[in-house]
């Protein structure tokens, strides 16, 4: 049975802000919720297993992921390989996921990140109860925290 996650919308906003400020020395801005998931979305997710079971997913556009990788690797965009892009967004998801995990009172483990190009196959993502929409360098960001109902759906697919 899942522990109740003591994380509110404002807490997740603070986590996202802290990650972007620390990693990229840049602020994020609040943004309106996505009306639909763009076809060029890139999604990186980490699973949390233990006292609470679920997913933390970071999504942005292809261009957003490219700029993010360019910033983290400190390389021009045209030198970023697709594997760099996945690595960078995966590490951001890992750090956001670790911060979410730190709010749990019990013991849990964090998976290695997985990255998908295109709309995420994690079911229920759009309806995640805890979701932050933000913008970074005009790129859309969506950070979702969702419980194990969605996780089990993915494992079955």
């Amino acid at each position: 049975m899942n522990e109740t996650i003591m994380l509110e919308h404002r807490d997740l906003e603070d986590i996202v802000s802290q990650v972007w400020t620390s990693l990229m020395a840049q602020e994020t801005a609040n943004a309106a919720p996505w009306e639909s998931v763009a076809s060029d979305v890139v999604a990186a997710g980490v699973a949390i297993s233990g006292c609470w079971n679920g997913w933390v997913v970071v999504e942005t556009s292809q261009q957003g992921a490219l700029d993010l990788a360019s910033t983290l690797f400190d390389l021009p965009r045209d030198e970023i390989a697709p594997s760099d892009l996945a690595d960078a967004l995966g590490e951001v998801a890992n750090i956001v996921g670790g911060s979410v995990k730190s709010t749990l009172t019990g013991t849990a483990e964090l998976s290695l990140p997985s990255v998908e190009h295109g709309p995420s196959t994690i079911a229920g993502l759009s309806e995640a109860s805890l979701q932050v929409h933000a913008a970074w360098q005009s790129h859309p960001l969506r950070i979702s925290v969702l419980d194990d109902n969605s996780k089990s759906t993915k494992e079955q697919s």
Binding site: Q18, V19, N94, G98, S102
Partner: protein, 125 residues
Amino acid sequence: MLAMVIDDSRAMRSILRRIVGELGFEVVEAADGQQALDLMDDGQVPQIALIDWNMPVLDGLGFVTSVRSRQEWRDITLMMVTTESEHGQIVRALAAGAHEYVIKPFTADAIAEKLQLLGFAGVAS
């Protein structure tokens, strides 16, 4: 002075390489704990290792335990740099032989402060 950055994320290794490089360290990278042990067996023994926890093949805790089991590597300073923030896990890492613990996300200043605390004042030259 040689620093080894051990993390399965190339992006994170790149960030840490820049930070400790600007502090004067030469830097060698490893993508997991086993790769790090292999590099050390080949003679690339660092003065300090910055170690992620959650890695494939051999995780950070396994790396720390392996290093501490080798008498010839007892002087290496080990610093965990990880998203793992559970108190019990931090205690495990320190008990296994890690000297310091930095939780991601971090700033460059936080890494520099920890290195100074560990006696790498100046930091490396």
